[in-house]
């Protein structure tokens, strides 16, 4: 198993190299000029040129690339212009925020989508099946930024039942002591229920916005996978053996159906982590996605590169995790490894 993981890691190297190269090239053709940005509003061309030299932007692309990779290898991702902080520090500070939001959304989504998908599969063709289809399709049809705005308008502005969209925690509360970076967990560790409730309240609206979007792929995959498992022969055997429908559905069908669902979950998670940029923007969430988007719009190379690289590594790790989970659930995988 470990050796298998090692091999998997090796195969991801070309992917990471590809990501580094593509990101580097992409950021270099971005239209902005960091030198002009650094030089300030009143600089003359000579001053801009001088700053260009200090930033190393006058060198040829290959030279810049070598320098970039050299920095990467020592863990230096550069400095973000927009916040002035080292990108590594920025990402470290913001990743938990994004991850907490995304995970929360994902869990919310799974909590709704998986039972819904199972129900839809068990009662195929019934009203609940149609409802599931309509609901999930509607969820995936909503532009997240639109849903988010609507939620803020209705639940915060009109009804006042949601807290102000001010990021992870109430303005006057202070975040819990840093352990995991996840406020929900950290506040529980600190035994601070007030903070837990405050940060939970902040999570609800953006969480639902994200969850709505993730509903469709998960519910659809659960349904499809359950349908194919339910029509498989071992389910027929289980039913013919008189096992209770609950046992058949949960212990026999669902555990088998989970395999493709887990793959989908992995894809949805990495998709959400990248796609929640818009949600973060709407809810002033201090996450990694909104950070990267701002940087991209400002042609701020370093954060964009750092963000993409972080995401790529996360993606790779996520896939490894899924492999592991697969192995746990499906004994066939363990042997092949």
């Amino acid at each position: 198993m470990l050796r298998h993981l090692g091999q998997r890691l090796l195969t991801t190297i070309p992917t990471l190299v590809g990501v580094v190269v593509v990101t580097f090239l992409l950021t270099r053709i971005l239209p902005g000029d960091p030198a002009a940005f650094f030089a300030g509003p009143t600089a003359d061309p000579a001053a801009v040129e001088q700053i260009r030299v200090t930033l190393g932007l006058d060198k040829s692309l290959p030279e810049q690339f070598v320098a970039y990779v050299g920095d990467l290898l020592v863990g230096d991702l550069g400095v973000a212009l927009s916040t002035g902080q080292p990108v590594v520090a920025e990402i470290a500070a913001r990743l938990p925020a994004s991850a907490e939001l995304t995970l929360f959304g994902l869990i919310l989504s799974v909590a709704v989508a998986v039972p819904l998908g199972i129900l839809a599969a068990v009662r195929q063709g019934s009203w609940i099946d149609h409802l599931c289809r309509l609901l999930t399709t509607a969820g995936v049809s909503l532009p997240v930024f639109f849903t988010g705005l609507l939620f803020v308008y209705v639940f915060y502005f009109l009804l006042g039942v949601a807290p102000a969209p001010l990021g992870r925690i109430d303005l006057f509360a202070s975040p819990p002591p840093h352990v995991t970076g996840f406020y929900l967990i950290d506040s529980l560790i600190a035994g601070d229920l007030e903070t837990f409730r405050a940060s939970f309240a902040q999570l609800i609206l953006p969480g639902i916005t994200l969850a709505l979007f993730a509903l469709a792929p998960i519910a659809r995959m659960t349904r499809a996978s359950m349908l194919s498992v339910l029509s498989s022969e071992f389910i027929r055997t289980a039913r013919a053996s008189g096992l209770a429908p609950g046992t058949v559905i949960v212990r026999y069908a669902f555990r088998n159906a989970m395999l493709p669902v887990i793959t989908t979950l992995g894809m949805v998670f990495s998709f959400l982590l990248g796609a929640n940029v818009l949600v973060e923007k709407v809810f002033a969430w201090p996450g990694i996605g909104s950070f990267a988007v701002e940087a991209l719009i400002q042609s701020d190379y370093a954060p964009v590169q750092g963000f993409v690289l972080t995401m790529a590594i996360l993606y790779v790790l996520l896939n490894l995790l899924i492999d592991l989970l697969y192995g746990l659930i499906d004994p066939r995988m363990r042997i092949e490894g």
């Binding site: 090796l10 022969e233 027929r236 055997t237 289980a238 008189g242 096992l243 046992t247 088998n256 066939r332």
Partner: protein, 559 residues
């Protein structure tokens, strides 16, 4: 004997896109206590649907429209789901075709047994394991403690079927319904499984319903046989009686079509005209057409550490798997050679290499003096030799492009390898080929899904002979067909051979079928030939122990 199960006027309907279809019509049958009854029929006869209706595990689209199913005084057709759950497994249990798929792939087989035991409250937490082990022992599984922890994929097909059987026996039911329990298994495994089923059910005084397409199998193992056709019961009789004096024309047809010792190819066809020679005299075997010498195909084994190997460490690579191991054969012009063996013996690999779709690891293949083995498989399609070797595939459905009409499929080799023909000429060729293989001309414009299995087989044959090849490889060409269709197709192949003077290499697992069509037979096992000789000699006087075992495993109905 008292009646255990009484099915009266059972009608099962399916809601389909084209309205309601009656899959089973007014079927009545009785199973007595301790009796073994076979339900025999070809595909679409409704035999499985009947059994699902009894168990009330029909698909959602299906429902019992009329009739009653009485089991031990209870009308199952009207029983509630809760009551049915008590009956399933506890009173009536069922085993299915394809045992590996019938087991939960990610649950230990022992635990699956425990699930059933516990559901029916026959075991508690403390003794479930012991009882499960006991069941494993009963179905004669060696090293049950070890197998208890095995997952289905770690077991052979026969072993899986034993586990399924153990599941079915777990709650000591009164009635076992076995739905094609051995289809897909090798003939030797089939015998072992069937013997076990019969032994154990007799031992327990259980009743058994054996659902099968194989009349021979049913007659061998059952007391009584019920023959079904198109959803109706056409005949019901004791096993011995049905073979001796089949009353219904359909039964007669079915029985005749079943290959068995001592008959000729023409005997398979219903009411063959009297006096027709059992087969046309084989043309005197000509010169050698195909010569295969020392054919070897190896595959690297899975496992090992490729990285370590790459670095020159981690020891030697495991011994490669030898799928075909030094095989030599000869086929003369106009001759047909049968290649027989159980699954995994290397017969299909051999045929693919001769077909030049696969490159051999070693060995020589010469066709009419040309060393075709030296031409890489990838380049072979562009050589003039391509048209000389053609093939009829195992699964007629799979071998036809779903997007091509029958005509387009038959025309494909003509268009590709002949060329230069105009539309009408191609059509004319196709029509003449269709006539040759007995395919009605109006079917030429149909797509595969609009054709029956037999018709598809004919299209495949027409395509194979379109270019008058020297050698046709028949890869289990009838394995996916009903016996009655198989009879027709085998005869057609034989006629075509005589007419066109082709040679056949017939690859099959079924010795009886091979014998009917082939002059010579080779028996393969583990990549090597164990016995070779004329068909009659091999069947009647097998030399190798393996051949004897094979022959013995073929069901012998009480004639």
């Amino acid at each position: 004997m008292s009646t255990l199960l009484d099915v009266k006027d059972l009608t099962v309907e399916f809601a389909t896109r084209r309205g309601t279809v009656e899959a089973v019509r007014q079927v009545s049958l009785k199973i007595a206590k301790g009796e073994t009854v076979g339900i025999v029929g070809e595909s679409g006869s409704g035999k499985s649907v009947t059994s699902y209706a009894v168990m009330r595990i029909l698909d959602r689209a299906g429902r019992i429209a009329a009739g009653t199913v009485t089991y031990g005084g209870v009308d199952l057709s009207a029983a509630g789901e809760r009551q049915m759950r008590e009956i399933r497994g506890r009173e009536i249990s069922m085993i299915f075709q394809n045992p590996r798929l019938a087991l939960n792939p990610i649950r230990k087989v022992g635990v699956q047994l425990e699930d059933v035991l516990r559901t029916h409250a026959l075991a508690g937490t403390d003794d479930a394991r012991d009882k499960a082990l006991d069941l494993l022992r009963q179905v004669r599984i060696a090293r049950p403690e070890e197998r208890y922890h095995a997952y289905p994929f770690e077991l052979s097909g026969g072993m899986c079927q034993r586990i399924v059987f153990a599941l079915a026996l777990a709650c000591r039911p009164q009635l076992l319904i076995a739905d094609e329990p051995t289809t897909g298994l090798d003939v030797t495994t089939q015998k072992a499984v069937m013997d076990l089923v019969v032994d154990l059910t007799r031992e327990r005084g259980m009743s058994t319903v054996l659902i099968t397409h194989d009349l021979g199998l049913a007659a061998t193992y059952c007391d009584r046989v019920v023959v079904m056709q198109k959803g109706e019961v056409v005949e019901e009789a004791a096993s011995a009686a049905i073979f001796k004096a089949p009353a219904h024309p359909y039964t007669r047809k079915l029985m005749r079509a079943t290959p068995r010792p001592g008959i000729g190819l023409r005997d398979l066809l219903p009411e063959a005209p009297a006096g027709t020679p059992t087969r046309p005299p084989a043309p005197a075997a000509g010169d050698v057409l195909l010569k295969v010498e020392g054919l070897v195909k190896t595959y690297p084994r899975q496992g090992g550490n490729p990285l370590a190997r790459l670095l020159g460490r981690g020891g030697a690579a495991p011994e490669p798997f030898r799928a075909v191991d030094g095989l030599s054969l000869e086929i003369r012009r106009g001759e047909s050679l049968g290649l027989v063996g159980e699954s995994g013996c290397g017969k299909s690999t051999t045929s693919m290499m001769i077909m030049r779709l696969l490159d051999p690891t070693a060995g020589k293949i010469t066709l009419g003096g040309d060393d075709i083995g030296a031409i890489p498989a990838k380049a072979f399609a562009r050589t003039a030799h391509r048209r000389r070797v053609q093939m009829v595939f195992q699964d007629p459905t799979d071998s036809l492009n779903p997007r091509f009409t029958a005509e387009r499929a038959i025309a494909d080799p003509i268009l590709r390898l002949e060329g230069g023909l105009d539309r009408d000429a191609v059509r004319a060729r196709c029509e003449s080929l269709a006539t040759q293989v007995g395919l009605p001309l109006d079917l030429l414009d149909r797509f595969p899904h609009q054709l029956s299995g037999g018709q598809k087989a004919r299209v495949g044959i027409a395509r194979a002979i379109a270019l008058r090849p020297d050698l046709v490889i028949l890869d289990e060409p009838t394995a996916a067909l009903d016996v009655s269709v198989q009879a027709v197709v085998l005869n057609l192949l034989d006629d075509l051979k005589a007419e066109l003077g082709m040679s056949y290499l017939f690859v099959s697992h079924d010795l009886h079928v091979v014998r009917l069509l082939c002059d010579r037979v080779m028996v393969m096992r583990a990549g090597q030939v164990v016995e070779e000789g004329t068909a009659a000699a091999v069947l009647e006087d097998p030399q190798a122990a393996y051949t004897r075992e094979l022959i013995a495993a073929i069901p012998h109905p009480p004639v």
